[in-house]
């Protein structure tokens, strides 16, 4: 190769300065490309990797809960406290399954107690102060929309009358999404609404009426809206449809599970 000292004897300084600028621009370019790749990797993590981790965790929770039911150790069956009030569920404990036939025959998730992020990473979380399955009041849950198993990804595609089925140890509870006209509902509750993040009234016993005494068994699901954003919340309300169905009569699930 040619010796650079011979090729450009007189332009050593300008060449070196150009070389420095080139190095700086190249370094900047590489840094930007690297950051871009890291951001892409993070998106992939949010969408796929957390789903994989969640799938493993959900199957563990499923096994645990079925085993506890089999051994008579139902988390919901804890005896009442001495003062007569119902015992609280331990935070982080799986206690029921949710199935939504509209999301496909395989859609089933363990519901955990609590709505802190570490619970929601594992599955839909029950608002601790809200009602329990089948109770009069509002059985309210939060769940992730994108990633972490994406339990509520397609919540916006649920329509009025769609079944949301809760399975406890001995019972199926079939809830159905309410209609979307407030006038069609005795309490003015709609099937689907989009609210601000601070709209805690949607999980009240009577949604939207913090002071009211509940007379019906409702169910509420909350998730983020729009997808990938924390700007708003997507809310779905449903009501218990008919009497709870004993699992002894319906070992393979209620008719609603297969579209009835």
């Amino acid at each position: 190769m040619t010796d650079p000292g011979i090729r450009r004897p007189r332009h050593a300084r300008p060449v070196r300065r150009a070389g420095l600028a080139r190095t700086a621009v190249r370094g900047l370019g590489q840094t930007l490309i690297t950051l871009g790749v890291i951001v892409l990797l993070f998106v992939g993590y949010e969408i796929w990797v957390t789903d994989q981790i969640n799938e493993g965790r959900q199957s563990e929770l499923t096994q645990d809960l079925r085993q506890r039911w089999d051994t008579g150790d139902d988390p919901l069956g804890a005896p009442d406290r001495p003062d007569g009030s119902a015992a609280e569920l331990p935070l982080g404990e799986g206690f029921a399954f949710i199935r939504i036939p509209r999301f496909g025959p395989d859609y089933v998730r363990v519901i955990l107690e609590g709505t802190d992020e570490d619970k929601l990473t594992e599955g839909p979380g029950h608002y601790p102060d809200s009602a329990l399955p089948g109770e009069v009041g509002n059985f309210a849950m939060a769940g992730h929309r994108v990633g972490k198993g994406s339990p509520f990804l397609n919540l916006d595609q649920l329509g009025p009358g769609d079944a949301i089925i809760i399975e406890t140890r001995d019972t199926w509870f079939v809830y159905r999404m309410l209609r979307n006209e407030a006038r069609a509902d005795p309490d003015g509750v709609v099937g689907q609404q989009i609210v601000d993040p601070g709209a805690v009234e949607v999980v009240e016993p009577v949604p939207g009426q913090p002071e009211a005494t509940p007379t019906r068994s409702l169910l509420t699901l909350t998730t983020c809206h729009p997808k990938f954003s924390a700007a708003q919340r997507l809310i779905v309300h449903a009501e218990l449809d008919g009497a709870p169905l004993p699992k002894s009569d319906y070992p393979d699930g209620p008719p609603a599970l297969t579209g009835g």
């Binding site: 370094g27 590489q30 890291i38 990797l41 993070f42 993590y45 949010e46 990797v49 709505t115 992020e117 929601l120 979380g125 608002y127 939060a142 769940g143 992730h144 929309r145 994108v146 990633g147 972490k148 509520f152 609210v195 993040p197 601070g198 709209a199 805690v200 949607v202 999980v203 909350t222 998730t223 983020c224 990938f228 954003s229 924390a230 919340r233 809310i235």
Partner: protein
């Protein structure tokens, strides 16, 4: 930076390719399993509750 790494990887072309792959995998694993799980709760991406 990448030029510097490439120059310092040993083992000729096959060694450099293998070394690069190994480095990419190691950095990805570090990001996916250590950095992102730590970083994620601090980002307001995944708030699904009303409070």
């Amino acid at each position: 930076m990448y030029t510097w790494i490439w120059r310092h990887l040993p083992g000729g072309l096959p060694g450099k390719l293998a070394g690069s792959l190994l480095l990419v995998l190691a950095v990805s694993a570090l990001l996916l399993f250590v950095v992102f799980p730590w970083l994620e709760p601090m980002l307001p991406l995944n708030e699904v509750t009303v409070r």
